[in-house]
Assembly symmetry: C2
Homo-oligomer: 322 residues x 2
């Protein structure tokens, strides 16, 4: 098994997690969790969304979050937006927020329509406008995220060749307006991926864009997320999204309460055991996971926060021998 | 990725799961769960223990369970025992129970002592007595199970070479008394295994006993069980224990409520997606998982029972296209 020596983890729990909570979480609790995450060694934290409070009331406090968190040195703080108004709100904070020229498409037209009321091709027509907005902010490329890249509850399996075709369209559209394709994110939005498919899709994307930074965003809806990450590590993928304690739920699963994002502390543990560096202090991330559970007030799916870090047991065992 | 075409799954949920429940489960509920499992296509169900009701009160109804369950054709029903008295209780039912000449050792002396008040070497002294009892029942071999084969909360990591040494001692002891080493089971009793270690230990055992049937018993205490099974499938391992809904808890984890056995329906889903036959109807196993959760009265860790079977979504997607 040949694995990368180091990976980059983006913590997305506060952004993906809080929006699914039925009970309002206080601003102070949200800030406390982001601040705890800032002390774990994680290098990027996506912590809020500039979206309409009409649609996502849990994110109405985005400005207060930015004002309230304690930014740690060396940590990049990110937010997301879905339209130009959201981007302009985020851009006001560019001194303290890391902006990325993101552009979302999907492996499934039905999913794209249900999310954005547009087909993928209609969505592509909007790319030049986004490229122009990003260029004005100094970013002359597009980071594309492909939702439902492995399968879709409405359309079924998604063929890796179809994802490649969608990415080719994005690239052509970007180049036609003087931008270019930057990073590629592949999201298993509805928990369809398995280790074989991870290898197939990552392989297909690598064949076409060998130098594009590649990121995976995996959900654990059907228990395979950690196995999928092992497959991706074997393919040399070095960038992953994850959520502390497995926050996030999955609104597209068969039942409410289904697991959401792969759990950060479980991912960090996997890497620790495989000898892959994350730069994250596992004990602190476990503590942040336990805090996340207290903050939302119900059990969250991550395992390490109950299973415990083996490093602790190893140290105790060594002490007992000596 | 080269995978076996078919694996054998032994369902151990009723045996491992019920004993950890704080609230007494009724005999009727236990029987209902075993009967539901009998209809899933699983070929072996380990459903009770012949142990002292003083130590494990939840298993005091072993005889009633045997009388009460509806045995399905083609399904083997197993139970466990820890001493000669337990074996003799089980042997009375040999017409309806599949007896196995099991003999448990451990990769760690401390764990062995805490479980049985004996070191591994002291335990080995008992092997001839067990071999004799098993021979009287027509079994001239020993199926060895190695607990804590990957690591131990008291002694730390367990070296694969140490496990090989323990197995060699078992084999020598068995042959010295006219028995022989049959199947080998490797148990990750406290959730220490990772995919690299699975490959190392399975490889080491295979090097020494290329023809011995090999079985893995994995716990999901630290979220790696499914990834560990993928690693084992890649090594060609074709026999696994698992527990419906992930019943079982793990009394040795850092915190109560830690995950126990790998979940049967999650394992079956993994195999379905990888094209590995289990002979199990996933929808029925998901229903059994949902029943298990109702019976114990609290959430259980398996994911498929909330995430849902992708086969259903594929069929719906196909119907929508036509």
């Amino acid at each position: 098994m040949s694995l990368p020596t180091r990976i980059h983890v983006k913590e997305v729990g506060p952004r993906e997690g809080f929006q699914f909570e039925k009970v309002a979480i206080s601003l102070a609790d949200k800030i406390a969790l982001v601040d705890a995450l800032s002390e774990t060694g994680v290098k990027t934290i996506e912590f809020t969304s500039f979206v309409s409070p009409k649609w996502v009331p849990q994110m109405a406090d985005a400005d207060d979050m930015i004002a309230g968190i304690t930014r740690a040195p060396g940590v990049a703080y990110e937010a997301i937006w879905l339209n130009e108004a959201g981007l302009q709100r985020a851009a006001k904070y560019r001194e303290v927020l890391q902006l990325r020229p993101m552009f979302g498409v999907a492996g499934s037209d039905t999913f794209m329509r249900k999310n954005t009321n547009r087909t993928v091709d209609e969505r592509l027509e909007e790319l030049p406008g986004w490229a122009e907005s990003y260029r004005k902010l100094g970013m002359d490329w597009i980071d594309v995220g492909v939702m439902a890249a492995f399968g879709c509850n409405y359309e079924g399996d998604v063929d890796p060749r179809h994802v490649v075709t969608v990415l080719q369209k994005v690239e052509q559209k970007a180049e036609a307006c003087g931008s270019r394709l930057g990073g590629i994110g592949l999201a298993d939005t509805m928990g369809w991926a398995n280790p074989l498919q991870i290898k197939r899709l990552v392989g297909a994307v690598r064949d076409h864009w060998p130098n594009a930074p590649l990121k995976l965003h995996l959900h654990d809806t059907r228990a395979l997320a950690i196995a999928n990450i092992v497959a991706a590590l074997e393919m040399g993928v070095t960038s992953y999204d994850s959520a502390v304690a497995g926050m996030g739920g999955c609104p597209f699963a068969a039942h409410k309460g289904a697991a959401g994002n792969v759990t950060t502390e479980d991912l960090v543990f996997l890497c620790q055991e495989l000898g892959v560096e994350t730069g994250i202090d596992l004990d602190r991330m476990i503590a942040a996971g336990q805090l996340a559970e207290r903050v939302v007030g119900h059990p969250l799916p991550g395992k390490l926060k109950s299973g415990g870090n083996l490093t602790t047991y190893r140290a105790r065992a060594l002490a007992a021998k000596n």
